[in-house]
Subunit: 332 residues, 2 copies
Amino acid sequence: MVASLKQIARECGVAISTVSRALNGHPSVSPATREQVVATAARLGYRPNTAARALRSRSSSTVGVVLPDMLNNFYAACTAVLQEQFEQRGYGMVLAVTRNDPSREREALQRLSSAQVEGLVLVPTSRRWELPGAQVPVVEMNRHSSRSGVDVVQSEERDGAREVVEHLLALGHERIAVIVGEQQFSTTLERVDGARQALDAAGLPLPAEYLLYGRHTRAWGAEAFRAAWALRPRPTAVFAASSELALGALHAAQRLGVSIPRDLSLVAFGDPDWFEVCQPPLTSFEQPLHEVGMIAAQLLLSRLSGEQAAPRASRVRVRGRLLVRESTAAPA
Amino acid sequence: MVASLKQIARECGVAISTVSRALNGHPSVSPATREQVVATAARLGYRPNTAARALRSRSSSTVGVVLPDMLNNFYAACTAVLQEQFEQRGYGMVLAVTRNDPSREREALQRLSSAQVEGLVLVPTSRRWELPGAQVPVVEMNRHSSRSGVDVVQSEERDGAREVVEHLLALGHERIAVIVGEQQFSTTLERVDGARQALDAAGLPLPAEYLLYGRHTRAWGAEAFRAAWALRPRPTAVFAASSELALGALHAAQRLGVSIPRDLSLVAFGDPDWFEVCQPPLTSFEQPLHEVGMIAAQLLLSRLSGEQAAPRASRVRVRGRLLVRESTAAPA
DNA sequence: CTCGTTCGTGGAATCGTTTGCTCCCACTGA
DNA sequence: TCAGTGGGAGCAAACGATTCCACGAACGAG
């Protein structure tokens, strides 16, 4: 049995309301009473019942985080930052996983709405999601939907992709295959767009068969790499638009006996720890995941505390940086 | 404003209790009333208030998961499995991160107790943790404490480590350095113990200077590798007791220009995706993380549903397997 | 001495749901 | 016609915490 205010009150011979005030540091409680109450609470191992508190005060001190996948390095890292920030400010965090499935996303949003979350960090899967129930602040992270009135934080996808392709162009590559995930995600769109901008500026085309849409998985990375390798004329470089895709591509390359960067250059978007130690160390575009998580948390927290006078939704883009390692070189 | 039972009741001209019963599928509601109530609820976008429900029914439908670190591959993977299993059975999951810090662990357990979790999956950091408040079932995952009466699920640490070292012995290694994390964790103990068993059986010693205790981080992996490399006589093989440690070790090896496995063999405990594509592909002991997560979830769920007639705590150990790749070879 | 103020405290309503109990009414069988 | 039965619905009491209001005592000022 977990202790309640009532039991402390009985034990101390005071009213429940007095106990509540004593424990919450309300000023109008005599020092003697407060001390006694606090001591008794400690002795009984009192822990406030969050359900009751949430019900009465109409505030759950909880925020929701909705993302596609916990295993993905990018999301795991962001989530860790979010968790820490929210905890520090006294908010609990409840997690929901969508697996990029709109119906799962809908269910998740309903669950969170039931849980009375006071705010939400969302990596949207549908372009038009709906949060049933009360209006709470939402921050879209990494991807954005067509929803208006929500804050958006993401890395500079377009510029990043452009920078990656410019790097390849500077090395002398002219036939560059691009492996990307789901076509409908804003990140995919923007990365492809950035790549195209760079190619356009160099007067080069991006033929449809060099643009390999699929899913954001290791398996697709491998399959697409094999497809790219089979293309004629063969591309001299491959741009894998996420670390998952790069992992698959690298694996396929090793299986096929493709020597990187001699036979073909490979560059990735995203930069998990292990890129530095793989074979060969991968040139990649490091996304500012720590910053993205941090800013998402700060944005949501400032909306929650109501400080944010700004009624306008903000859209923050954070720059990443290109890390040139050994998987890119001039074409043979 | 989010709709409540009261509003639906008003709208339909029935009592709150009737609405509640209609929506919960209670039999004694006429089909006509039920239909009307359900329709109104849908129209108003009704979502039950979980706080109120938890308060009244004294059951939160929530379980807690306490782990050291979300970024660690092993825990992330287990958590993903847990999340899926719990969600499937209608339980919410609240996450707490301890960073292997006992005081953080204490706070986390208090938070979860406040949140009225009905059960707990815990990767213990202290040998004697305490869950304040009500008695709820707890499953210890991966590590175990000295707590009695809790279920424990873990991989066969000892046998795994023994198998790893036996592999090295079979290749002809006699001087094997072991890089491990925090000395007080049961996993560390058991892995070291397994390694020692294998060495004992071969009549070989494990000198103290070959046993490098530290922390479970990439940084320590690197530092310990450098220390191992500097030992005289030099070890011919290094066993890194986690993937984090292996990452650091590998990185240090590459920096030092140590060629693996020519100059030295490296083998790791744990098997993240990328071990297969790194330089060189790492021989490792694959922990059954999927099974561990699954069994932890099942164990807790069966305790929660009360089916488990067994009052005795169970202790499940799951075997992993050695994956021989290219980072181990006979000593020069 | 009395009136107004302040301080500490208790009482009670409230949040949204669930659930035991009661009540009404229609229907059945004698 | 009437007692018995049972389905359908309402009333009200919880759950634990917060908070507004009121009340009594103490006290200083006029």
